[in-house]
Amino acid sequence: MIRAVPPLTLLLLLGPVAAGLWGVIRPAFGVLPAAGFAAPSLDPFRALADWPGLGAAVRLSVGVGLLATALSLALVTLICAGWWGTRAFRLLQRLLSPLLSVPHAAAAFGLAFLIAPSGWIARALSPWATGWDRPPDALIVNDPWGLALTAGLVIKEVPFLLLMVLAALPQVRAGERLRLTQVLGYGRMTGWLKAVFPAVYAQIRLPVYVVLAYSMSVVDVAVILGPSTPPPLSVQIVRWIGEPALETRLVAAAGAVLQLALVIGALVAWRLGEVVVARLGCAWAERGGRGRHENPLRRVSLVLGAGSAGAVLAGLAVLTVWSVAGFWGFPAAWPQGVGPANWARHGPGAGSAFGQTALVAGIATALALVLVLGCLQAEARTGRRPGASAMWLLYLPLLVPQTAFLPGLQTFLLGLGADRGVASVILAHLVFVLPYVFLSLADPWRAWDSRQATIAATLGAGPGAVFWRIRLPMLLAPVLTAAAVGLAVSVGQYLPTLLIGGGRVATLTTEAVALASGGDRRAIGVYALAQSAAALLPFALALALPALVWRNRRGLHG
């Protein structure tokens, strides 16, 4: 039976992606029989080309995606090169889990409330330092170049890539490599960049591609921080889906196909960029420069890294202040009064959305855990590990842009009469939760000393008893961490909930993003905080529970 789990998992993972892509490609070429369009045509693409905002939307999508990915990768690389193994680095590492779990939308709201001309930073400096008694008429948030959007993506992708790098470092024996360069007289950063980075990058290549695909096609962050005249392509696709005329559904499908092509093109371009950078990097390494003047760059990387982490945390702080604020005019640094009124007003709504969120996230994560544990057990039984191609399959749902296949999945489910329910939303979430749970659990699960299983077996324990009584309890901490990762991923999902839920499944994320258009900072503060709590709480529990359960078992303290 356990042998059926890996194929089942692949089906649940890739089935929706395949069905969704099929459901997008057909209408993109004019075929949507349910709506009376039967003859294939290129009209949807012509209509797409006629949309006056297309050029700008495509430029935004590609520009923001490449820039956010390059900046995030560069920042993570410089921080690791400059500070790995130092106290500052360990502090940053400790902030990693909370930073990772803050949902994208909440981080974006926090950033908007900080950097807007009427944001907290301007308030803190006004009027004494700036002379402003009114916010300057400066286009900072929603700027047409997508810089605010890029910044919002960078502050969330930096923790993600940092985690990936941290996981890769032991595998490439980074410590030994670094010591070797230092013995040869290389500076810390130069040595890291020349000897460690190439090996690390080979390990984190797929996560970097995920960041690129995600940044190019994100919807919720783009709605909050991105421009609207025109918006990035992904946001426009979602708008077209929402329009009543059925023809625009075809245009949306054509847009989705274009989005997919753009992502594939950008991935190919990035891959070519890797080759060029590798050439240049090798030449640089062979020139033998030891890097004697790297301290300024080192300090800059720390400032940027701390700034990136600080933006997320200060964003949470300003959300908190808004959630309890009475009237708060510019340029006051603090509201005139604080009180629980906003929570009393929005608390019940946020509470019921919290319930929906927890239901969807809980079931999706539980299913993902069962499937992942099943896959890992099957792997242990058969002794066969998934190869590199299986890793690509696992990453596929994260590489195919959500805007490219979720609209098709919606149509597909509608055809089955199975859309808009909580169950469908859970299955859609599973597609994104599963890979992250697998990636988070596979390494610790495989690293477990299998001699423990041999010992238990010689003591009379069958495979079931070994799993339940030995392996699972010993791996409680990584299992709970994987569960927390899964919950956080589910909590943060916007598009799958919106499209597949058909509006009937209202989670904290869909509610918070819906509030974005209303601009009520108090309500946004309440919802975004509740959303962050929903994602953070599981991480706190994942840390606290094993510590509590195994408080008298030193052997299990990481």
């Binding site: 001699r451 041999t454 010992i455 077996a457 010689t458 003591l459 009379g460 008893a465 078992r553």
Partner: protein
């Protein structure tokens, strides 16, 4: 009845290559010591006997324990006890819990507790039942691991370099204890080691694996 552990024309192959051949019997209370450099297949031999041989290997011949053919039985049904060089106590169970895990299911709770307490005092660890295994010294862990194995009432004992991680003065003590307990229970013992001292103390037949046999 044909008591003891019998390895009957055992051949382990990896692909076309023969890793080792063995045709021996270990009578109850006796020790067979298998020596050889690393890579000579010592651990593979033990895995074959416990039933945890990797799929990459092919096994021919029969393994008989007290006359019963256990070659194709799952590991938990073989009645073979095993000690590694690490004690490998389950870190999430107490010392007593580890011992109770080895004890066959059944019996009243009080009876099980008494058995565990008695086993601990047999190796000089009275009052250690509630302790966290992580707080024990290396020698203490080795003794708990031994008793955990013995409480499962195996009909043979396999030792995979069980003393190599202990410091020199403990090593003799623990080694003596293991051999004494095994002899007291009349168990056939198969010791895998690369330490000549171990082989001498075992005072039994010694087989030396030379590495890859043609």
């Amino acid at each position: 009845m044909d008591r003891g552990l019998k390895l009957e024309r055992l051949v382990i192959r990896k692909g076309a290559e023969v890793l080792l051949r063995m045709d021996r019997a270990v009578p109850p209370g006796a020790v067979l010591t298998v020596m050889g450099p690393s890579g000579s297949g010592k651990s593979t031999l033990l895995a074959a006997i416990t039933g945890t041989l990797d799929r990459a290997f092919a096994l021919e011949g029969r393994i008989l324990l007290d006359g019963r053919d256990i070659t194709d039985l799952p590991p938990q049904a073989r009645g073979v006890g095993l000690l590694f060089q690490d004690a490998l106590l389950f870190p999430h169970l107490s010392v007593g819990g580890n011992l109770a895990f080895g004890l066959a299911a059944g019996g009243s709770r009080a009876a099980r507790r008494d058995t565990v307490v008695a086993a601990l005092s047999e190796v000089g660890l009275e009052g250690y039942a509630a302790r966290d295994p992580a707080t024990l010294s290396g020698g203490q862990r080795a003794r708990v691991a031994l008793m955990r194995t013995l409480l499962a009432e195996p009909r043979a004992l396999l030792l995979d370099e069980p003393f190599s991680r202990l410091d020199a003065d403990r090593r003799g003590q623990v080694r003596q204890l293991v051999f004494d307990r095994a002899r007291a229970r009349d168990l056939p013992v198969l010791l895998v080691t690369h330490d000549a001292e171990d082989a001498r103390a075992a005072a039994g037949e010694v087989v030396t694996l030379s590495g890859k046999l043609g």
